[in-house]
Amino acid sequence: MPEPSATPDAVVRRDETLSGRVLVVDDELINRAYLRKLLLARGCEVIEAASGEEAWRLAQERRPDLVLADVMMPGMNGYELCERVKGDPGMADISVIMVTARAEIEDLEQGFALGAFDYIRKPFNPRELVVRVRNALLLKRSNDELKLWQRRVSRELEVAGGIQRCILSTTPWLGDGTEVWMSHQPSQHIGGDVFDAIPLSDGRVCVYMGDVSGHGVGPAMVSSLVKALLAGLVRDLGAQGPGAVIDALRKRFEQYVQDPEVYVTLFLAILDPAIGAWRTVNCGHPCPILLVGGEDRSSQLSDRGELPIGINTKAASASDTEALVPAIPDSLLVLYTDGITEARLADNREECGVARLVGRIRTGLASGQLGDPVGGLIGQLAAEGYNVGSDDCSVLAVRQPAAPPLLAREVEPSLQAVDILGADVAQALRTAGWGEFAAAAVRLMVVEHGVNVLRHGQSGERTRLHCQLRVAGGEARLVFHDAGREWQFEEALARVQRRARADDESGRGLQIIHTLASGIFQYRRDNRNVTLYKIEEGRVSAPPVEDAP
């Protein structure tokens, strides 16, 4: 196989040292022996295989960095071996060099087409072989390092994404007069969108939606900064209105971020119950969508606006561009980022657009007045083929229900108060036209939930229980919140069920709720436990059907 004059050098020059594991495949012992001696002398670890089949097995077991494969072998030949190695996801990164006596261009083409990294013609010059092997091994090593780095970065991105998901909570805020639902999907592991709903005193609520230029780690850090800044500013200045908050945010933002390419578009609104309207400021963000009674009234919203945060502005104050959005009953105000409207179909690149977004939201609204109006939106667009994953997508919907809750009350932490609450909830449902039995079932849920919070949420003033009851058609929604110890419904239920015995005298409250509710959702928000139960009248209007024994 080697040129007649060539013998493995006894003296190896420094720049000819190699490192890596090489699998030498040749059906002729003498050729293998020669290559082994040559490569060993230069520092390689050498494995030998006398056939394609043996090589395939060894490749799987030993994971070489490089396969040096003779083309012409009985059984599995070099091409077939190369194709197998390159076709296996776990081994595709192994370099393959074909050793061939056939030097037709078609042969070379075939080898490269199958994923071979290089070829060596027989008879070969040993120094040429060493150079080619070194190239292959160096590339393999740098690929390995890159892969390691990628894995590390992607792990760190995942950690960062997890942290961001905590910071960028989509936990709804279900006030007695207004409710806010949020949904978010970052483009990579983390994104540059930022949004929140912040309840303030006197029935005020602040909502905002922002989008930091670019996406990835940098913008994600900026979005966290904006969220942290706004949390404080909204609490301190919210009573003065959105203009004051924006002015202060600009000043702070410019202190912390000097990069002119980093800016934030932001829509911020504060509900002022005294005037029954949202006071809003728009800093270069897409105009929100307003649906009243399901009809699109977005065109009635002001298109006045400010420059994005982070872009120097000489405007005196954002208060000058403040606009009012009336808080109309049975309305939905939807803030979003352009990741949704600019998502495109994979096949014809058609953009989602605002009109289509409005259409999807209206469809979602028709499915119920008590649930999350935007919860399934991003997923639905993805299912329709829009590439919502290519940019951060966020949506925040403010619902102004058509009517106040059937009942909204905060009660003292006492059995007496819980008992009365349960009876009053049943009475309210009866008044709303629910049957006696269904009303009693909901009363039972109220009492069981209340007693559970009293017994396990630590006693004292902290466990004052807030209860809100809404009804739409044959569906009721109970929302409880309390400031007691954090608990998880499913966990608590599982704990009770694990040690349940037929003659237990307690521990059946959660089981009762679990049976009666058609949906149970739990959130932790503002250091409070929020529990949402959905009840279908049809499901609880008769005693449960007896199972066959």
């Binding site: 039972l444 007693v451 037929a502 003659d503 237990d504 059946r508 009762i512 005693p543 449960p544």
Partner: protein, 112 residues
Amino acid sequence: MTTIFSIVNGMGLAAPQGDLTALTAGAFREEFAAWFAVAGVRNVVLDLSLAAFIDSTGLGALIALLKRVSENGGDLSLAGLQKKARMVLEITRTHRIFEIYETVGEATRNGR
């Protein structure tokens, strides 16, 4: 809420005069225990016709009574159970551990 206790055909008859809930169950259990200790009966019928609403704590009290009466070698039966009150027993599948009669009359027919 009070409970009226009597003896019919040699059987104890306890009739709580209202709902059996977290609010009333504790007192009901205590009253029952005090009466049962001196009543000298083995079998007991609970007349629940005035307990329109029973929650899981009320149910817990019924189970406690069942154990108390059983330990003494007797049977506890429920009578006059209303539809809404029966709900909690069925949801929790505890109706199987009680002897349930439509009326007090049926429950006490055979006596002792």
